[in-house]
Every structure is written in structure tokens, then in C-alpha cells.
Subunit: 304 residues, 2 copies
DNA sequence: ATGAAAGCGCTAACAC
DNA sequence: GTGTTAGCGCTTTCAT
């Protein structure tokens, strides 16, 4: 042992994996590395993996389901399991993958796979309550990608909670979850005479704010804007963006934790981890300054 | 072959690497995945690696030189080479690494290793000329990490070009290359009565703008701000940040290209690739509205 | 307890 | 050209 130490001996993982069948690697698939949402998750995942002596194989599917499948296939033999973030693949394909490998999915429910989910319903409830408290009565929602589980959940949360609070909702989109899409959505919002809007994610919300400011519309003076995710940029924008904070690092950590457990006890049941979210109120939301929704045909509400 | 295809046969890379000594993997080390500068490079690197059938091992050194060394050591046996971004390690340690493995470094010059460099001198020249043309005569520079090659180069570029244009410079810092550091730097700038400031990177520049705005100082009305890198956020801020654009994706691609070449011909010489940069003029810079630098002891210049 | 050997899935070198 | 075999560096099993 002393000599081995002397010579800086390190076992070859390739050789080891040949006999054990385990590689000590985890594959992480994200749809877009440039999106801070995913780099946030990735950062947490990487840190947690290292703690359990796993190395990370990284792949970017560029939002492309075919490429996603291809990448998984290619990596399959050199990893023990996968973390797939916001899969663009269809349910059936994912369920097929589950048979050959162990995987944890983020923001998606797949039978046979553990998942880490964001409590979108709670996030939406917090956002809607906040806007309702500020006197907004008609709320726009900028939809994200149609196939996204998060988008469906957020939309559902919006509808449920808006009804509870007697609010009207206007759904716009779907849009791609980008800054640019937010910019173009801003004009649609203006055309609809809305006083408050919730975007599918921060990137879009930031785009909305940017375009509104460029058009001389005050945020939050005339329109309140709420985002989702709390990417670092959200706190840097002017005004600072009110948003539903999703704990990105912890999400990545939780996912790897689940995966490592699963790998240690392959027979054990899959788990589902729901991450709590928290509305962060910043400068992009304020009281409704229009007495009533201008898009509404009813006159002022008197004697209420 | 037909049968192999039928059974979806894929060779085991572990077994293959055992005999060939090649793994088909590349290790990529970044100091902070959360920094969009690095995720931009990473995205390009990942795409280029895939084109040459290399998979990416990812590690985040958390700006920690010791951890950086440790990670390289751990990955060494399972990769053919490394891309190390903005290494925090000392020259001697890097030169030692070069002996055992092939590596490409980003934004650093190491004998025996290929490198991808950003043309910081040109970037600084463009930034200084821009500010000089706007009538600024005294320019602040917010220094980044002391050990950073980029920081030293940018500082050098600043000094040279400022002299050429007869400008005075004020160096502040060093700061960590973050938004928060930029915020705190903003107050120092105000105390120094500067009309223009160049930050080591966009994150800091954004922090400066945010804090200045919060203090009621107009950008670019009273102070012009220039960043470096052109991370996506730069174009989203209000006002949009004038910055020296570094082609992040191409930088990552170029680095992997160099590495792949090196791996194919181990005897060949190392290369150095210098990336051109381009000043992007946006809304955060404007004409100097003070007749002369207020920090100057000279009185108004008359009869000129 | 310590030591020897088989074999994981490939590739490369050799024989035919 | 086609087929056989040794051996890459480990782990695990079996024998001592």
C-alpha cells in the first residue's frame, strides 16, 4: 500500500467497470446549456455527484427530441444512470428507456422513473394571490412550450387559483421560453389592455419588461410582471423581477441524490420529490392603477 | 453485422479503452458553471466534441485551485485530454500537468499546452477609443481576479491605449467577477467622480449599473458603463450594456478542435488561437456631459 | 488469513 | 483475407 501511494497509483475505472458492470458515471441531459435554469440545476447536480464519487457526463440536446434519444443511446453504456432535465421526448420513448437504464427525470412524471418536481401549483397560487391583493382583476399568462409538463401545471394552477379569486385570465402563446419571445409577447399584452402578466419563465418575463420599457410603458406603474424560476438575472434586471423562486441548485442535488439511492438499491421503489417554491416580491409588481380592467365591458363597479 | 445490428449492439467503450488506451472522453473544467461566460463556452465545447465522437466529462472547480487539481487528478484516467477554462492553478502546477496529459487552456498561456485566447488588447483599444470619442477623459477600470490572465491583459490594454489617447485612468479593485462586486464598486466610482467606467466583465458592469440606478445616477447620462464578454444578460439589461463581445460558443468549439487535433497527432506542435473581439455599442455609454473631469484640479479650459 | 486464477469485452498482433 | 489468441487492469471467486 505504501508503495502504491508512492507511485500515485489510481485504479483504472475502465478496468474496474469492465468487471463490476458499474461505471461510476452519471449522464446528465439538458435541453439548453445556455439557459440559466439548466446551468443552475447542472451546477447542483455536479456538486452532489462528486460527493458520491460519481463523475458527470454532460450532453445538450438542443431542445431536439431525436438528438436527445441519440445522446442517451450513445451514453448508455458508459453511465450507470441518467438525469434527464425537462425531457423533450414522448412518454412512450421515456418509458422504453426506463427498461434499459435507471433514470431520474426533472419536471416530468414517468412510470418507473424517480422524479424531481417543482410545486408549480403552489407557485401559481402565490403569484395569483399576490396580484389579486394588488387589485389586479384580469391576468395574462404567457404560455411556454406546449409539451412541457411545467407549462401544463402552471397553466392549471393559474386557472384553478384565478377562479378561486374571481379573476379573469387571458392566455397568450405558446411561446418558446426565451427572452426574445417575451419581447414579442409584450406587444400582445399591450393590445389586450392587461394590467398584470405572469410569464412561463423569467427569461420571457425579462423580455416583456424590456420591450415594455422600450415602448415607454412603466413597469410596474402600468403593467405588473411576474416571472418563474428566479434565475440570477431576475434580481439584476431593472426593475428587479418579482418571481416564483425555484431552488435550482437543490433541485439538481435532489435529483442526483435520488439517482444515487436508486443505483445503490435497484429493487427499491421510485420516489418523487416535490420542491417547494417561494414567491419573491421585487420591483416589477405594484398596485393596479386602473380602476377596473379596461378590456372589461362592464362599467365601474358601484355600491359594492 | 446484420445480426449485430438486429440486437442493437454497441461496443463497450470501457472494454475498448482498456486495450487501446484511449477513452474517447474529454474533461472540461470550469471555475463556475453559474457564470454564463463559462456555460457559453461549455455549450460550444460540448457541441464540437460530439461532432468528433467525444463525450464530455464536466467538473466545476468552484474557483478553488486545490479542488481544480483534485478534479483533474480524478478525471485523468478516464479522459484523453482536458479543456481547462481560466485555470485558477499556478503556472508550475499546470506545467506539471502537461507532462502527464494533453490539455488545452482557455485564457492562459502555458508552455506545452495549446491555448485559446481572447484578444483583450484589441477589445480594450476599442472600448477606450469609444469612450475617448464620446469625450471622456478619465476612465475607471474595475479589476477582476488578480491571478486572472484576462484581467492582466485587459489592464495592460487599458494602460497602453489610455496613454495613446491622452486619457487618465483610475484602477479600482481587485473584485471578484460578480454582479455583487459590481454593485459595491459603483459607490467607489461615484466617490471618484468618474464619468466612464470599464468593468472586467459584464456581470460586474451590470452590478454597477444596477447600483447606480438605485442611487438615482443616470446611465449613460452621468456615467457611461462598458462591460466585457457580451453574455446574454448584457443585451437584456436596461439600458442595454455596451460591451466587448467575446464569441463564447466559438471559443469552446475552437478549444475542442485544438484538443482533438492534438489528440490525433500527439507529436505535433501546440497551437495558440487568438479570438477576435468586437465592441458592441448599446445604450449604456453616451457623451461626457461634464465639461471636464470633475476630479481634475485644473479649472475650466478656456480659449481652447 | 493470503494467494492464484478466471474473466469482464474489446483490439491488435499473429498465424493460417 | 479469415480466424485465433493474448492481454489491457481490475474484481471476485475459489483454493490454499
Amino acid at each position: 500500500m505504501a508503495v502504491a501511494d508512492e507511485l500515485h497509483y489510481r485504479p483504472s475505472r475502465a478496468a474496474r467497470s469492465l468487471t463490476t458492470g458499474k461505471t461510476g458515471n452519471i449522464g446528465v441531459l439538458v435541453p439548453d446549456l445556455g439557459n440559466p435554469f439548466f446551468s443552475g440545476i447542472l451546477k447542483g447536480a455536479q456538486a452532489r455527484a462528486r460527493e458520491s464519487n460519481y463523475a458527470i457526463f454532460l450532453a445538450d440536446s438542443e431542445e431536439n427530441p431525436r438528438l436527445e434519444m441519440e445522446l442517451v443511446r450513445e451514453m448508455a453504456r458508459q453511465v450507470d444512470g441518467f438525469l434527464i432535465c425537462s425531457p423533450r421526448l414522448g412518454d412512450s420513448q421515456l418509458e422504453q428507456l426506463v427498461r434499459d437504464t435507471t433514470l431520474v427525470v426533472m419536471n416530468r412524471r414517468i412510470r418507473g422513473a424517480s422524479s424531481v418536481l417543482v410545486d408549480n401549483a403552489s407557485g401559481m397560487r402565490q403569484a395569483v394571490e399576490h396580484l389579486a391583493a394588488l387589485g389586479h382583476t384580469r391576468i395574462g399568462f404567457l404560455c411556454g412550450p406546449e409539451r412541457s409538463w411545467s407549462n401544463r401545471e402552471r397553466l392549471r394552477g393559474l386557472r384553478n387559483n384565478a377562479r378561486t379569486h374571481g379573476l379573469e385570465t387571458v392566455e397568450l402563446g405558446p411561446f418558446s421560453p426565451t427572452f426574445e419571445a417575451g419581447q414579442s409577447a409584450a406587444d400582445l399584452i399591450l393590445a389586450r389592455n392587461l394590467t398584470a402578466v405572469i410569464a412561463f419563465n423569467d427569461l420571457m418575463a425579462l423580455g416583456v419588461m424590456s420591450r415594455l420599457t422600450d415602448r415607454g410603458v412603466s413597469v410596474p406603474g402600468e403593467i405588473s410582471v411576474v416571472g418563474f424560476d428566479d434565475i440570477p438575472m431576475a434580481g439584476m434586471a431593472a426593475p428587479h423581477l418579482t418571481t416564483v423562486a425555484v431552488p435550482l441548485g437543490p433541485a439538481g442535488r435532489a435529483a442526483i441524490e435520488l439517482l444515487v439511492e436508486q443505483l445503490a438499491r435497484p429493487q427499491a421503489d421510485q420516489h418523487e420529490e416535490m420542491l417547494a417554491v417561494q414567491l419573491i416580491v421585487r420591483g416589477s409588481t405594484g398596485p393596479n392603477t386602473q380602476g377596473h380592467p379596461t378590456g372589461d365591458v362592464r362599467g365601474p363597479i358601484l355600491g359594492h
